[in-house]
Amino acid sequence: MATLLAIGTAKGLFLATSTDDRRSWEITGPHFPMTGVYAVAIDTRRPTPRLLAGMTSSHFGPSVATSDDLGASWDEPDQAPVAFPADTGVSLGRVWQLTPAGPDEPDVVWAGTEPSALFKSTDGGRSFELVRSLWDHPHRPQWEAGFGGQAVHTVLPHPRDRARLLVAMSTGGVYRSEDAGASWTPGNTGIRAYFMPDEWPEFGQCVHKVARDAGNPERLYAQNHHGVYRSDDDGRTWSSIADGLPSDFGFPMVAHPGRAGTVWTFPLVADGERFPTDHRCRVFRSADAGGKWEPLSVGLPEGPFYPAVLRDAMCADDASPGGVYFGTRSGSVFASRDEGDSWSTVAAHLPDVLCVCAAEV
């Protein structure tokens, strides 16, 4: 069994493979050089794992490619895999998220895009179709763009109920469906939007990332644009879990894939000061669903540290004990094979790390 760590960067995709239980890594790449790889997925539901990469060339536009041989070769359809229908009058900016659905829908893959939209594939990510119900939502004209662009950056299927699906967008916030995407309801009660005149709107929040608890899928964790929250009712209402953190600002939020209550994040000082808190490279972990947080830094750089970690640049693998990974805007990638207790460097001096995804393959 090997562990594959896919690293999407501003100038291509790098693939790190470990065959010694995540002690050392061999890296290939860049695949798709000079493209920004904002989304990557490792679909392990198939007999042969499928890699999916969403890349955007600043010259030649966005696309999605797949690989069924762990990145040795890639295939990109002739027709655009993700494209807006003509009547929408818009074009795809980039794919921000590629998410395989639950195990009972092995050919379904979701894509979140810029501009904010959800697409569904029923052929394993080869082609996608716009989910009209969200695109036609009456709130859509009021969704705004954050600094990174207006995008659906999070798609969370419910692992036990294919009818339930949650998306998050910046800005706009959380939207939930309980009918397999036929209709959508905002789920932002309790999430503050300090940048709006009404700080507690129905929608319009700048949610940065949402993660679903593995043991209790009704429980979700959100890193907001200031604010860290937990929902215990599948995203209907939220309450703060920021008290034990040095800051409530940041981008990633990762839940343990196998154990309830364990989450990791990487706090930054503030919206106006996007440096790691105390200028130190530290991951924060909670083992009680956000009640208490502890800093983790063994093996991480000790000196002053300034790079940020973007919303999808932190992930966990499905091994035991769990591996945790994060990449920085300065092109470093760090890995822990003991759930964050200690860390080692996987790579350094890569382009800005935009996303990471890891799995046993």
């Binding site: 010259h59 030649f60 536009g61 818009v90």
Partner: protein, 91 residues
């Protein structure tokens, strides 16, 4: 017949060819539409799903930047040369 010259990064989408011969003429749109039939992936590198030229792709018709001569409606006569070039952009 119109000759379309391709830049290095796009030749892989045309079987490695640096130039293509396209039978359509009339307008630049017609030339690109015709090219899309045989080379759909090449075509979507140049134009988005609305049919608009991508922002950082420049197309010259007989040496004139089409953005200054009618865009996709730029006349392209038989024997013309259409050159696709990425603009100076990126970091």
């Amino acid at each position: 017949m119109v000759t379309v010259l391709l830049p290095g990064p796009l030749r892989g989408e045309a079987g490695g060819a640096s130039r293509l011969s396209v039978t359509a003429a009339g307008t630049l749109r017609a030339v690109l539409d015709e090219m899309a039939v045989a080379h759909p992936r090449l075509a979507r590198r140049i134009r988005d799903e609305r049919g608009e030229l991508r922002r950082y792709v420049n197309v010259f018709v007989d040496g004139e930047d089409c953005r200054h001569s009618g865009g996709l409606a730029t006349p392209v006569s038989d024997g013309a040369e259409v050159q696709v070039l990425p603009s100076v952009a990126g970091g």
